[in-house]
Every structure is written in C-alpha cells, then in structure tokens.
Symmetry: D2
Subunit: 312 residues, 4 copies
C-alpha cells in the first residue's frame, strides 16, 4: 500500500452552481454532510464534477474549498488531467499547494487515434515525474473512448509516484488483469458502484463512486460487509443499489445525479450549459427509483431538517 491509504469509498463530488456560478458555500455544506458518513475522502474535479466546464481559476478555488472543509484524516484527490501534458503538471502542482493529497489524471483523449501505449506511458510518466503529489490514473472509456491496457497499468504501477488507477468501465475482468500485474503498493479503485462488490471481492482497494454522492452510507456498508466477510449481506445491498446507480450514471447522467442529491438532502442543483437540468418527468422517475431502493424513506428526516435550496 502507498503512503496514502485509499482503502474505502470516495464520491467523485459534483460541483454546485447557482445562477451559473460555482456555489462554494453549497460545496462546503455538502462536504460537511458527507464527512459524517464513513467516506474515506473526496475526489474533486472528476467527471461528475463537470470539470470540463470549469475555468482554471474555478478549478483551483474549488479544490481549495474542498481541502479547507475536509476533516483531518480524510483524503482529498483532485482531478487535474488536461489534454496537454504541461497543463496537467501545472494544475497538479497548484492543487498540491492548495491542499490536495493526490491527483487523478485522466487519459488525454481528444486525438484518440494517437493515444498509443507509448504515448500514454510517456504522458503519465512525465506528469508523475514532475508532480509534487502522488498520481492516480483515470480511465473512463464512456467519456474518453480509450481503454487502458493491462500492460500499460503494469508498467506505470512501477513508478514510485503513481499509486493507483480509477477504472470506470466496470469491466471486472479488466480489473482482475490490473490486479494480477501491478506492483504491490498500487491501488485499483472501482469507478462504478454497479460492480463494487464484484471488484472488492477480487482485491480492489476501494471505490470512487457517483452513487456515493447521494448514498454514501450504502456504499460504505457494502465495503464494510466485504471486509467483514458478510457476503450475503453485501450481495443483497449490491443488487439493491444497482438500479439507483444506473439511474444516476448511464441513464440520466450528471443532471440526474444532481436531482437525486437534491432529493437526498444534499445540494445538487443544476448542471452547467450545455447540460440541461433533469426534467420533471425524469425527476419523478428518479424519485420512484430512490423510493424502491428505500433511499427516500430512511433519510426523510434529513430532508425535512435541511432547508431545500431554492432557485429562481
């Protein structure tokens, strides 16, 4: 294991907007709430954080806000990957100085045809060589259309400043290949709650899960069940969470995730344009899915206690 203990659950947190501007106070509100749920830490500026819609200045202030509001002992991982190698390094080191403990670096992907194994290995190596904090690789084929081959992960896992990978396709066979070929102190992080149990059972260190934005305790509970060998309970809870996870990822995307957070007492709010907010129809579908999974009833008092955010 690396010096940073990644065993546990991280939400790739959403970025709250009010009137199109980052609502840093709402971000702090969410962080405080999430901090009481057993999460291992936070991933800020991930895909669910709409990082592609933030300006360089907003990125930095967002990371700073998260770092300042995160309790000691929890880990802050900043998504710092840019298309350009140099821009990635600069952002990573800025985030380091703002309080991030590690950086999540996405595969560059615009020129997909050029992203050979050699090019990817070179990019991540140069970034890791020049970064003040440890690096996690970030593979998310749904958005990048690039899958990171096991041999690339095997080679990069040898780098002392590369401590893990977040793999978001949910391909458990590929997770197994990573686990088979990595260095001992490397961490394979499951990137989708749909295969959390499946991934943990074969040795993944933890999960970076969109679902943990709205149901952190459930994700932590699956993690704990597996650690305790309570597999039947893990299985039952895993199956129960699958429809919720699909709703807030593949089916309804970030707008749906934010709508579900609102229903669960967090500040979700609207996405930035060009993303359109979830329609009333979609919201009622999400509500039904949450109720079916007993995610609206159990926390109902929380919803009542917190003032619902109002937008014009």
């Amino acid at each position: 294991m690396s010096s940073i203990d990644l065993r546990g659950i991280f939400p790739p947190i959403t970025t709250p907007f009010i009137d199109g501007k980052v609502a840093y106070d709402k971000l702090a509100f969410n962080i405080e709430k999430w901090s009481k749920t057993g999460l291992r830490g936070f991933v800020v500026l991930g895909s669910n954080g709409e990082y592609v819609y933030l300006s360089p200045a907003e990125k930095r202030k967002t990371v700073e806000t998260v770092a300042q509001n995160t309790p000691d002992g929890m880990v802050v991982i900043a998504g710092t990957g840019c298309e350009s190698t140099d821009e990635t390094i600069a952002l990573t080191n800025d985030c380091a100085s703002l309080g991030a403990h590690a950086a999540l670096v996405i595969t560059p992907h615009y020129y997909g045809g050029e992203m050979s194994e050699t090019t990817l290995i070179n990019h991540f190596t140069v970034v890791a060589d020049n970064s003040a904090i440890p690096i996690l690789l970030y593979s998310v084929p749904k958005f990048t259309h690039i899958t990171v081959a096991a041999k690339v992960v095997a080679e990069l896992s040898q780098h002392p400043n590369i401590i893990g990978i977040k793999e978001s396709s949910g391909n458990v066979n590929l997770l197994g290949q990573y686990l088979n070929n990595m260095s001992d102190d490397f961490n394979v992080m499951i990137g989708t709650a749909g295969v959390l149990f499946g991934g943990l059972s074969i040795g993944c260190a933890g999960g970076v899960l969109a679902l943990a934005n709205l149901a952190p305790q459930k994700c932590v509970q699956i993690f704990d069940y597996v650690k305790q060998g309570r597999f039947d309970e893990a299985k039952t809870l895993q199956l129960k969470m699958i429809p919720v996870n699909n709703a807030v990822t593949a089916t309804y995307g970030v707008p749906g995730l934010k709508a579900a957070m609102d229903m669960r007492g967090y500040f979700g709010g609207e996405p930035r344009l060009p993303l359109l907010p979830a329609s009333d129809q979609i919201k009622s579908e999400i509500k039904a899915i949450l109720q079916q999974a007993e995610l609206l009833k159990e926390d109902a008092n929380i919803i009542n206690k917190e003032p619902i955010n109002v937008r014009p």
Copy 2:
C-alpha cells in the same frame, strides 16, 4: 429454479475436426474425459463449437454424439439459434429428439439495426412457444454486436419455456440488472470465466465457460469455493485463471482454445477455414501462460497417459 438444474459449470465445447471433417470419435473422447471433472453438463454448438461452420446435418449428428456419450444426470444444452425464426424452431426440435435437454438460442444479429426490443421479444417468444425443450437466451455482443437490455430479459423470463440466459460480455453490472428483474425460476449464466467469481457472488446460477474446455476442475473449484463461502480461495483461483481465460478467448480465439486443449490432453485440433490454426509462436505463448497458471504441471501425467492426437 426450473425443472432443469443449471447450477454449475458447463463448457461450450469445441467441435473437433480431422482433415476438415467432424471427428465424432474425438468428440466422444473429450466428452468422456470432461465427464469425470465435476462439470454440470455440456453446451454443444455454441460459439466455441464453430457452429456457424457446420452444415445442418453435421449439427444434428454432433448433438446426437454428445447426447449419447453424456452420463445420466448431466445436462446437454444445444446451440440451436439461427438467423431465421423458423429454422431455429426446426433445429431446436430436432435436437430435442436427438437427446438435448435444453436449447441455447442466440440473438439473431445480421440485420442488427432491425433487432429492436420488440423484434427480439417476438423472436424468442415464438421460438419458446414452439420448442419441445426449454430455451436459454444467448447474448454474446462480441460476436453479435447486440446487447440484450434488462427489460427484455425481464419480460422473457416470465415465459414458462424460457429458463435462463447466457450472458457473455462479462458486464457484471448488467448481470445484476438481469438478476434484479427476472422471474424466480430463471437462471443467469455467466458466459466468461473472467468474471465467474464476480457473477456467482451476486447470484448467478452457474457458468458456460470456454475455459472449462481445458481447465474444467479449476472452474468447478471456483464454483464450489463460492458455494462454501471460501471467498479468499475463490479470489486467488479466480485471479490465477484470468490470464488463461483471456488467452483462449479475446486474445487467441477458438484456434488458441483448441491449441490449449491439445496441451492439456484433450483433443483440440485445428479450426475450420476461414479460421487459421494457431501459429507456433502463438502456441508457445499459450504454453507459457498455462505453465504460469500451473495448468501444465499439475495434469502432466494425464498428458502422458493419453496418446497425443497426430495430424498430417
């Protein structure tokens, strides 16, 4: 559970050829050998059986040979899916009279753009309505480029003559969706050994695994470990089998699978044209992978005892 108990491991058996003709005696030889390994039964005429290269007459005789050589208590499932609905029904009923207990029916796929949910549901319903034996759906997107949606499986699982699905993409999240929405007596069968543990742990009934052609005991062992709650041992063996499974499926295909079978004392032999046999280079790569997984050493006496098949 359906009247046919599918809990366990099935190899989708290869079809042996000598000089381009089906070698029914070698098929019988393999069946006898596999029958002593704890397998639940056989899938004949699956993708690894090169069913697309067999004439209608060869298909029937192959199923008959398997049925006649399979010990009582083991289950014979015949791959009977054709592009045409009527041809599928005819082949299914012929295989039923030749001794098959159930039929595996692939999604029609040539006109992929036309295979809407309505069309698929109609096809499988008409086939099941008219089949003398129970039907399993067969989804293998790698070859068909068609993924069967959870709602299609949910609806078809209600049909009294449709008892399960073999899902070969290895998408554990999708397996979970199937499990969440199916009727009680429906069976979700894992279609690739790379996620055997992951699939079983969330409730799949068993596996139809190319790997079981050459390493049946290992697959059965993972199944038994999970049943017994010995998850650490399941995990270790699962990870050990992943490279072997990848070699005989994604990497080297049916020619590689057959070469690996030869190394393991089964009759593998050459595929039919247009498939080309594994080159010497590929064979030596496969050999190294088998040795790394301790699959050549442990059964070495078996290899020595059986006469190695000789081809001109």
Copy 3:
C-alpha cells in the same frame, strides 16, 4: 475490364415471400418488370434478399429462378458467401451451374476478431481458386462490422478470378483508395445509392443499389448522366434520391424496402421472421417520402396497370 462487363446498375433484389414461403412466381414477375428499365443485371441473395433466412435449397432455387427469367445480355450475380470457406465454394459452384455469371462473396464475420488481413486474403483466395465463375468481394460493414482495407483489395484484385468489390459503407474516400490500388480489370461497385454520383465521378464501374429495387430508372439515369458529362442533372437527381435511399436502407431496412416496392408496383411483401413487416405508420412515412421525390406520381399508371398483390 474483366470479361463480364459490370458497368451499370444492379439491384440487390429482395426475395418475395407469401405465407412465409418463397414466392418464385412473384420473383419472376419482378425480374420481368425490372428487365425493362435499363438495369445491367441482378444481384440475387444479397443482404436485401434476406439470404441469411433462406435454406440451402431455397437459395439454389432462387438463383435458378432469377437466371431462367433474366434476358440474355443481362448479368446475374449470386450472393454465395457463407461463414465457412468450403460451404462458400460449394454454393458458388452450384449457383454457377444454375446459371449465375458471377458470385458475390461476403466477408466472413462471426468471429470478427479473427478476421485479420491474412485470414481474409486466404479465404477469398481459396474461394476464387476453386470457383467456376468469377468472384466479387462483398464488404458491408453495417452488417458485418468488418471493413476491408485497401491493401487487402489491392492484393486480391491481382487474382484472375476476382473481378471486383461491392463496397456498401458509402465511404467515398475508401472507394478512392480501392481505385488507386487495384489491378486494371478490377471493378469497384458502389453499394449504396446515397453516394452513386460521388463514386461514379471518381471512377467506380457501377452500383449495386437497394434503391434500384424500386426506382431502377432513376439510378440508371444518374449513371447515364455521369457517363454523358451532364453533372448538374446528375447532382439534382442524386440529391433528390438521397431521402428515398435512406428510407429504404438505414431508416426502415428491408421491411421498408419491401413496402416501398409494393407502392411502386413491384411485389415487395413481408420479410421473414424475426424481421417484422413495416407498420402502417412507417408505410405512410415511406409514402410521403416517395411522393416528395415524385416517385409515386410519375409511375402511377404502372401501379394501376399491374394487379396489386393481395395478402390475407
């Protein structure tokens, strides 16, 4: 140019069914009607002929019917490609003896990952070596998910018994690569009417066009315009045909094509299961598209003169 002159337009003819059986008389009816429209010949058992739904015996009788009803001077090309190399050869030679002048051989595709350049070149070479009639390669990525690289075509074009390729993706750049690298007597046939003018203008020999099933004169007219250097007229007619072509191919598939043929006085009829016939809604959309392209008005007398086929 090869001994068979392929310069001109061929419809990949549909196979008529009545009550699920091949209606050979309706086939003969269509052939006679098409024969008066300036077409160069016919492609029978292509994708629009639902060849994957025909039994071996039906395939042979269908080819025989076409050959017997085709006037002298027109060319009959039979789709004889099967997944198996040997089965392809057998069907090709049977079709040759039944009167086909050439064979259209699709890329094998079930085991897509195995269809390397070497495998494809070997398959087509073995087929061509053993065929009594000349071979055309058939590349249709929409259905096969396989694209034939220019270097494969370049090499195969050297074979004395391979006289051309039908390329159905409509990728004009790829057509250009084929034209740049082929032997002198090789024919590049455009496989979709949407790029007929574009393909002819850079040197393709002709077209095998679904649209020619229902609008043969229009396709022939575009061909003639280009030959005569009347590019403005070619352009105008090409643009007018694009919506019709899209309707009877990508949008509504074979069921839509057959419905459009019925509207135009040919026998279209219903497809075979699992394909479902065009709904009334789709038929009225197709009708509107035909009217917009002036394809219902101009031939109205033809529709009135021919008795409309009646199905229960």
Copy 4:
C-alpha cells in the same frame, strides 16, 4: 449565400511550437506563404491547430497573429468551441474583437450520452444568439464520437447567425442530407480532402482541409476544376491526393501533418505533448508518399529558397 463568402478552400492551420512555446513568427511565415496560393482564408484553432493544448491566452494571441497577417479579402475563421456554452461565447467574442470574421464551434462532446438533439440545438442557438460574428457548426466524429443529424443541421441553418457547417467524417451521403434540408444561405463545408470532389459535385460550398496546409494549390485546383466543369481533371487530381490526405490525417495524425509541412517548405515542427513527433521511420514513409504524388519535386525550388527551420 451568407454575407461572408465561404466558397473556396481553407486550411485548418497547424500551430507552430518551438521548445514547447507557440512560435508566432513561424505562424506569420506560414500565413504569408499560404496567402499566395489561392486559398479563400484560414481556419485557426481547429483540430489540426492542437487547440486543446493551448491556454486561453495562447488561443487569443494565435488568432490575433493570424488576423494581423492575413491579407484583405481573405477570411479568418477561429475555432472557439469549448465544452462549456458560456466559455464558448466568451472566446468567440474575444476572437471577434481580435479580427476573426467567423467562428467554428465544435459539438461539445465530453458527456457524449447527454448530447441529445435538444441539447445540441440549445447549445448552438445560445452561442449564435450571443456571438458578435457568424457561427459555423463543427462536426468531427473521429474526435468527438458525435454525429450531427441532418434534422439538427436543418433547424440550426435557419438561425440568421449560423452560416454553415464543417463536416469532417467524409460521409458524402450525410453531406447530401445536409444540402437537401438547409436554408438557402447556409454553407456545407467538406472537412476532409478525401471527398473534396465528391462533396463539391453535389453542392458543397468549399472545403476546410488538413491537406491544404501542405498542398494548398492542389486543393484549390480541384475546386477550380469542378467550378469549370473539368471533371476528368478533377477526378485525376482527387485520386492522386487521396494517399497524401490519408497519410496526414488518419494514418499519421497531426505529427505526420507537421512533418509533411516541413518537407514542403512550411514550418511544421513538433506537436505538443502528449503527442509525440513523427519518428524517422514515419517521416521516410511520408516522404515516399509525397514523392509518389509529385508533391516534393514540383515545389522543390520553394524548399530550397526558404531557409529550413532548425530545431535542436
């Protein structure tokens, strides 16, 4: 036609780097050289301009440099598309004030699953409503994995501030659909030289062609031949340019394009990381392709006259 006349050829110009910094003097050098070749204007900050690797400040200075060095009468189009709608508007208006005549706005694409027709129409409408200069849509599925449907283009073509689309897939059938459904003053620009003749012959206004970076006269010549009705000469030159175009786009990407520019007397130089420069092996392959197309011999004096750029 819109107020800006787009009929002609535009290179999507590369961005020169020396020691990783934008070499604005080399950019000016290229612009001056290109300006004498009959080009209609320039597209700056397109995909071949590595716009994803430029900082906001570099983008602005690059556009300014191009605008200042472009002769009167030529058109400067700036690539201003960002993932965020608001950022796109801000960059567009800054580029307008720096001298750009129009803006090329790429489809947002990171959240591909969310880019519905509604979302795309809304994005482009908001951008066009708020832009000081006219907008061209930019569709490049190779990089974005998003294809813009004909009905989206039809609707957006009605917007008074949206004057065209650059379509880079080379799908001539799709170009035809755009042409069939657009408003009268809308311009369909061909985005790849491989189908320049095919696209122009059905009515496209012009081309934005990577090939025009290194062979502007050839591209202009094809345009002129078509305008003059000299189709045989257009065809011959089109076929001759296809291998060159494939080399500097699909096969070798931006690094190959820059290497080819160096060989042709322009300043190409190296790409930015993570892109790796073309290897010596690739350079010699490109050289052979240029010689085969007579692109090295014909302009040899130009190469000799201009001092070759030297890099350490």
